[in-house]
């Protein structure tokens, strides 16, 4: 089952990227002429460093939460010792593990961040206006694996059942990445890089 999830995630991502690449070749050929590695990286770097751009400085809380969220979202599932042990057992591969305490704090951070995002969706009019059901579902899809993970870790009520929820929800999250708005993970380097190239090489301007 885990294997299926990884396969769907990897194959799905690969498929999405390749088909987008082919569509770009067919319809947006100009992207390939204008992309400049230097300016693409210049822009990407400015957008993956916290507070490097004006937009991020304008929203300090959002910036801190968004960075914390993304770091934890990646680090916890990959470096959690329980996960690393599972990888070791099934595929005999292993790597560095997070101390359990750190993993716990980071998981709470993800849940807290999700609550923050939920709060934005509910209370900020400009975000509420853009929000539809799918945005809430995606947020839930990200939060549930972490909530259920902590739940089982602490062996709270019915933790065996919750463990199953944890496994299934984690797999679902992984599998939907390529096919939902979570695909911003795949496309971020391309959209930002393309804009960075247009702004940098053609328009001699910053885009952050």
């Amino acid at each position: 089952m885990v294997g299926v999830a990884f396969t769907v995630f990897l194959a799905g991502s690969f498929f999405r990227l390749i088909s987008m690449w082919r569509l770009a070749k067919k319809k947006d050929g100009l992207i390939f002429s204008y992309i400049s590695i230097f300016f693409a990286l210049r822009s990407i770097v400015h957008w993956i460093l916290p507070f490097a751009g004006v937009s991020m400085r304008k929203h300090p809380a959002m910036t801190i939460v968004a960075f914390l969220f993304h770091v934890c979202l990646f680090a916890v599932p990959i470096f959690l010792s329980a996960h690393v042990i599972l990888f070791k057992e099934s595929w005999d591969i292993s790597w560095w593990r997070l101390p359990d305490m750190a993993a716990e704090i980071m998981s709470w951070s993800v849940i807290g961040s999700c609550l923050f995002f939920l709060g934005r969706r509910i209370f900020l009019p400009e975000v509420r206006y853009l929000t539809s059901l799918s945005d809430y579902l995606i947020l839930a899809a990200v939060a549930v694996p972490f909530i259920s993970g902590l739940w089982s870790y602490h062996q709270w009520a019915a933790f065996q059942v919750v463990m199953i929820v944890h496994i299934i929800s984690g797999e679902i999250m992984l599998m939907i990445i390529p096919f939902t708005r979570l695909s911003h993970m795949l496309f971020f380097p391309f959209t930002r890089g393309y804009m960075g190239s247009e702004f940098g090489a053609v328009r001699h301007a910053k885009d952050w």
């Binding site: 770009a24 004006v54 934005r120 975000v127 853009l130 496309f187 328009r203 001699h204 301007a205 885009d207």
Partner: protein, 443 residues
């Protein structure tokens, strides 16, 4: 300082949109849109619309949103949600009224200023999406009347203002005559083969602001430049078709423009102070003709003035004395990176300079760009009300001493004039060329 907008702006009557819509059937609408999505909807459209995470961070970028008391309908992603998202979801099966509303949003509620690109973490280009919609409207024949008229003029005369071939030449002679009262040996060289510079202007210059040609001639003369202007169509560098979604015409227009430069064997094109024309010649039109960059060097007036001062070709008699502030036009700053050069020229010509905030790439659009001012009188009120932040920004510069606004772009000039008037700011607006002309040593 400035008045708050309380008006609720609903659909504004517009002959172009209304008559165009009357001719449509729902079936036509969905057929045209489906075909358009299939033929021209590529990876950019797909990625932009599918990866927008609805975070709302682009809102703060948009002067429409900021000026309408943070009404989310005017945020960049909010405009996409109301229009394109629905069109894609319904695969074009939208009502004719929906198309009318879409036309109004795409043509008059976005200046294509690309400020939002700098606030969206993913660099989603809402201006591109709005242009995509405008092209749908163009194909459906639902375009605001005034801007469509300029596009018709482009198609029929190769200039934006229905200027006839002999009127163009007459205007140049007239300005040459006038200028000779001041500088007896001044010439406006017509059709000079092999000159260094082809000086090109926008259609409204000979039509409404002919003194700008006069001033440019005086500057060229004093700097001793080897320049010329054509006596044929191709003199106009402007391009409203770029904003109506008529991309075929964009290619025709720029072809004539570049070919005129080639025919005259000039080494470069120097353009007057216009932002959208710069966007068209240096960034957009070349692409439609298959050139990655323009086929010969193209310089906006700011760059040209910068060169003249840097090379000490122009001397200043007495610096402009009233404190000035600079409006950074989107198309030459976010679209061309000329902001430091503009400041250099101001430094050379003006004694006191007050920065506006925000400035440079982050400056607010004038509200006129992207063809919005060209949609004409029906939208004037909406346009100025929708840019209250600009008025606040100007008022702040005024409070810090600025008396004159320098706006090195025709559209910005017009847009700011309306804003200054509507909000009673009492500031004077000048082109960079006006200031240079006033201060320079003309000998």
């Amino acid at each position: 300082m400035t008045k708050r907008s309380v008006q609720n702006i609903s659909t504004i009557p517009d002959e172009g949109i209304d008559k165009g819509a009357q001719r449509l059937t729902p079936d036509q609408v969905s057929r045209v849109i489906r075909r358009h999505l299939e033929e021209e909807g590529g990876a950019r459209l797909k990625v932009y619309t599918e990866t927008c995470v609805h975070c709302g961070l682009c809102s703060d970028a948009c002067h429409f949103y900021l000026s309408h008391d943070h009404d989310p309908k005017f945020s960049p992603a909010g405009k996409v949600k109301q229009t394109l998202d629905k069109i894609i979801r319904k695969k074009g099966r939208v009502s004719i009224d929906f198309i009318k509303k879409t036309a109004e949003i795409a043509f008059t509620e976005c200046n294509l200023c690309r400020r939002c690109v700098m606030y969206c973490p993913f660099g989603i280009d809402v201006a591109y999406l709005m242009l995509f919609l405008r092209r749908i409207c163009h194909k459906l024949g639902v375009v605001p009347q005034y801007i469509q008229d300029t596009a018709h003029s482009h198609a029929a005369t190769m200039n934006q203002m229905w200027v006839k071939d002999d009127e163009w030449i007459d205007t140049l002679h007239w300005q040459e005559d006038e200028a000779r009262d001041e500088i007896p040996d001044l010439r406006i060289p017509l059709e000079k083969q092999g000159a260094d510079i082809f000086y090109s202007v926008i259609g409204p210059e000979p039509k409404f602001r002919a003194q700008m040609i006069y001033q440019a001639a005086v500057i060229m003369n004093a700097a001793g430049m080897d320049w010329t202007m054509p006596a044929t169509p191709g003199w106009d560098n402007s391009d409203m078709c770029m904003y109506t979604g008529d991309e075929e015409m964009v290619a025709r227009l720029k072809k004539v423009h570049f070919e005129t430069a080639m025919r005259l064997k000039t080494k470069r094109i120097v353009m007057g102070e216009c932002g959208h024309a710069y966007r068209s010649v240096h960034d957009v039109g070349n692409r439609h003709l298959g050139w990655k960059m323009s086929p010969l060097p193209v310089m906006h007036a700011i760059e040209f003035y910068y060169e003249l001062f840097k090379d000490r070709k122009l001397k200043v008699n007495q610096k402009y004395d009233a404190p000035v502030t600079l409006h950074d036009p989107c198309n030459v700053v976010r679209g061309g990176g000329l902001h430091e050069m503009a400041r250099y020229v101001i430094n050379e010509t003006c004694s006191r300079f007050v920065e506006m905030h925000p400035n440079r790439e982050h400056n607010y659009c004038c509200g006129a760009g992207g063809g919005v001012i060209n949609c004409g009188p029906p939208y004037t009120n909406k346009r100025v009300v929708s840019n209250r932040v600009k008025a606040d920004q100007l008022a702040d510069a005024k409070a810090r001493g600025a008396k004159t606004i320098i706006a090195p772009c025709h559209n910005c000039f017009g847009g700011l004039e309306d804003i200054v008037k509507h909000y009673g700011l009492g500031m004077e607006i000048k082109f960079l060329g006006d200031v240079i002309y006033e201060c320079m040593d003309k000998e």
